[in-house]
Symmetry: C2
Amino acid sequence: MVLKRKIYLEDKPRDIALKECLEHFEVNRVTEEVRVSEALGRITAQPIYANRSMPHYHASAMDGIAVRAEMTIDAHENNPVHLHEGTEFVYVDTGNAIPPEYDAVIMIEDINIVSEGVIEIIAPATPWQRIRPIGEDITYGEMLLPQGHELRPVDMGALLAAGMKAVPVIKQPLVHIIPSGNEIVPVEENIQPGKIIEFNGTIFSGLVTEWGGQPEIQPIVKDEPEAIKEALLKSSEAADVVIINAGSSAGSKDYTASVIEEIGEVFTHGIATRPGKPVIIGKVNGTMVIGVPGYPVSAFLVMDWFVKPMLAYFLGIPVKERQKLPVIAGRRIVSNMGSEDFIRVNIGKVNGKYIANPLTRSSSVTMSLVKADGIVVIPPEHLGVEQGNLIEAELFRPVEEIESTILFSGSHDLCIDVLSTFLKEENHSSKITASHTGSMAGLMAIKRGEAHIAGVHLLDPETGEYNISYVERFLKDREVVLVPFLKRKQGWIVAKNNPLNIQLVTDLKEKGVTFVNRQRGAGTRILFDYLLSKEGVLPEEIIGYDREMFTHLAVSAEVNMHQDHAGMGIYSAAKAMNLDFVPVAEESYDLIMEKDFYESDKGKKLIEVMKNKRFKRTVEEFGGYEVCTDKDPVFFNQK
Amino acid sequence: MVLKRKIYLEDKPRDIALKECLEHFEVNRVTEEVRVSEALGRITAQPIYANRSMPHYHASAMDGIAVRAEMTIDAHENNPVHLHEGTEFVYVDTGNAIPPEYDAVIMIEDINIVSEGVIEIIAPATPWQRIRPIGEDITYGEMLLPQGHELRPVDMGALLAAGMKAVPVIKQPLVHIIPSGNEIVPVEENIQPGKIIEFNGTIFSGLVTEWGGQPEIQPIVKDEPEAIKEALLKSSEAADVVIINAGSSAGSKDYTASVIEEIGEVFTHGIATRPGKPVIIGKVNGTMVIGVPGYPVSAFLVMDWFVKPMLAYFLGIPVKERQKLPVIAGRRIVSNMGSEDFIRVNIGKVNGKYIANPLTRSSSVTMSLVKADGIVVIPPEHLGVEQGNLIEAELFRPVEEIESTILFSGSHDLCIDVLSTFLKEENHSSKITASHTGSMAGLMAIKRGEAHIAGVHLLDPETGEYNISYVERFLKDREVVLVPFLKRKQGWIVAKNNPLNIQLVTDLKEKGVTFVNRQRGAGTRILFDYLLSKEGVLPEEIIGYDREMFTHLAVSAEVNMHQDHAGMGIYSAAKAMNLDFVPVAEESYDLIMEKDFYESDKGKKLIEVMKNKRFKRTVEEFGGYEVCTDKDPVFFNQK
């Protein structure tokens, strides 16, 4: 079985795969009439011509009186003309029909009442003044909207005004979404190791809705050729487009391509992109079938590359493009020759420039899509992008939102999320985007102008003091400010009731405990190394020392899985997973920021929220924290 | 009654009115749990923390075998290591759980099968390689989404992956929309002169939906203080925001402001804008009430200025801004000091520049919003914008759509709409935007670089020839191309069965017919003037000569209303309204374009569609047309 697999996929350029896909796509458009009031966002199936003029009568454009213009010719300040109600004028309000015997309107402001039923005017009226003629807005027979037009609220108004109750629109293309895989279980089920919740289907369903299609998630299909065949045959008869998720690669249970080949045709199996390579584009029963890879990032991109243009093509509308923004690569981005690389990035405006920092490249990390501000494409002929180079990003968020975002880098602390929440409450458009990179990486981000603020807790083993000496050493000559933020407890994170009774660093070695360590440059790791060296324990003597976790919560999650593991971290992380916490040290967790940012409106707002009493109370109620934002900031290298 | 009215409104700056409005707005946010699969576009009511890690077990990142890394240390090309299935390795597929006794995965591509159940490897595995550790994507307790976050498809996926079935979102603010006015009738009714279809409510309803609110259109209320009071009291108890449409000015039936004053408070009555001035912002029963003016353009803008930010404020999200684009004023735009002017514009890319041309300023013209590509704001301290000045437009359409639009100017012909329809069918993103300005204005638009193509039918009375001499005279030294398009019949548009038996231009004078004339510079008017002078009839002898209609259809509409009127126009316009047509002349309607455009891809595509057989057939089936796109184009002033 193993040896018979097709291991290699094609490397077809993405644009060629799309071109072929659209060429093979037989569009079966159906027109349906929907009530105008329910037509928001629908696409017109044909040009729409007005059924009625608007106004459909000569209407007064003002509150005033309708007159015959010829009777007013002689009116002048020195020669007021008197008119009699009913025979020589009538009162009209805005929108009233002009009686056929009149041909002009004089504004109410320009008349004087002389007596009951008699007025005077002191200026002549020109024929048709202040009258909205028939068809001023809409003329009967006029083309209101072209076909292939997405109906907006104003269009709906114009349709009603033009006498239409219903509008012919294109029936939304029906898109069947078939989740497949033995490991996939519905959302409702209790989940066992080795099982994965079916969530891609819901992402696809949302995307299809946004793109104007009608999604229908089908029951989960097992990794069995017969089951896949049956599902594809059934859906290909019902739907306009069929999406089958996972099984699109060349693994031992990837039957999709061979099944489509058996009952239809495969046009593409594999494209020259990373991620997103294992795509299948084929046809069954005359219906296009797209085999989408299982990893959520690959899946999202494949939907965007193929299903989005297919639905636009079906509906006869242009493909909606994302806003583009020139950005500066905050770090070097490497790329392989021969394939397009799609790099999710965070973008922030630092020192007036848009800086893009790559997020994880792993295509299994859904959260990288959630957190991304945009995506950068490295073309197949490029080996990557150097730090500082200008590149173009496609945005996932509006640029105003990106501009108002505070970029955080450095050590992870739950209080940063809380700070962001409070900031957002105060100012809806402001928030903190956090890269949890560890304290040292945070300092480096400030140095390179990649972040507005860095969270650090770096112990100087020589002095026992936190942060100050690191800023002096690593941010030489930079005008930065250290803003005191938290005192927090570091300690052992252990299973409930501390079954191994871990108290000292030597306990780890003596009891053969597996230690869950943090990455190099993390403040917690520096503290742990300090404790080891103080007790004369070598890293090699600690089981698990070499494996690195990137956040306090990841350490807790690991301990939570294994009774015989222990980690080092902050109290709140232990508490979040209902683990025990043995305090070891109290440390200073401070924020470092460029002086320019500190003095900016964004910076001032941030400091204000940090000093907010309700914020302090919320943080201290977590336990393990003391908020020390009352302390004075420390300025470095002032010019 | 007339004299007691309050005639003048405030001139409050718009930003101050909005600031006060938001200050008075008491937001009553309610949280509701909705199923994740139904949460697209909803706004999170609080920060969302993960209920579960993803993966929630150590998972294989590849198809391959799970091994103990320590057993592979010595593997080398010269020293293959053999492993036995079940005791020393197990096969794993992507996503499978790693059994606790193993700690690394080797890819299927890197193993050789030696015999049943025995494989060999030639390189060592490092611990944890090719394993997705618990929480790689999502860590239990991690903040997934902040509050005030609009849920996108990927967010829904992340929520499901993190173990959530439901998500706490802000209940959509309920917005009551009260249409008012004695002249307003529901869409279903047969409409009489003086009555207006209620369509603003549907526009508002669509906008409120797009902005995240829940609209509810209330029954139409008469212009009576008691009825308005009752409706406002009822809605103010039920809704989060109340919109009352029309009656917001200071006319004889504009009771809204005084009613709100009686039962609540009015904060603003009138803002310094054109259009949109007669706004009421007030409060009844603690609920904000917005009095929106009746004219659709004013109404749309007032909704955009006040209700959109109110809903964003309620939901705790940033106000979505429109894309902005620097554009060049194609014409001079005048503006009044002291009020912000909002000018609807068409925008096209001509000769590499974005040119904005103002549409009608009339706030009663719904179609000006439908047709607008964007809006330009002239600040209160400006007297206007000179032609050629750079200004900023807020876009109603994506810039790509604007780029692919062909700007038409000149004489109106129904075939231009048909041409646009065919062009759109061929290429979804391309279409023609038409300003119906008359033939001479079309030539001027080409001269000023405001349009890509102009439709002209200009008779030279000296030669009896069409168009050529006009291009020579008015587009001196410009490299332009005349593309022959149509021969079409001009004639008298008269009531069915031609009751006045109009045949000759002298009939108009002799029978005292009211003539429906076209505007100066229109080809049809030039033809009519030619006929008059040929017969020695003076314009003063023609009743109605001075009133100007801007399109053939408008002429037809006017004749359709009045049996004793007659107009001059094309056959298709008469036919559209089932009127009679008496042919008078055959004329040439041609397209003039800059040579650069003629030779561009857009230009070539257009010419291709004009020569398309199905297009020709469609046009000729209207009657009165002969398509002559087979004739050779005429080049002027070639360099």
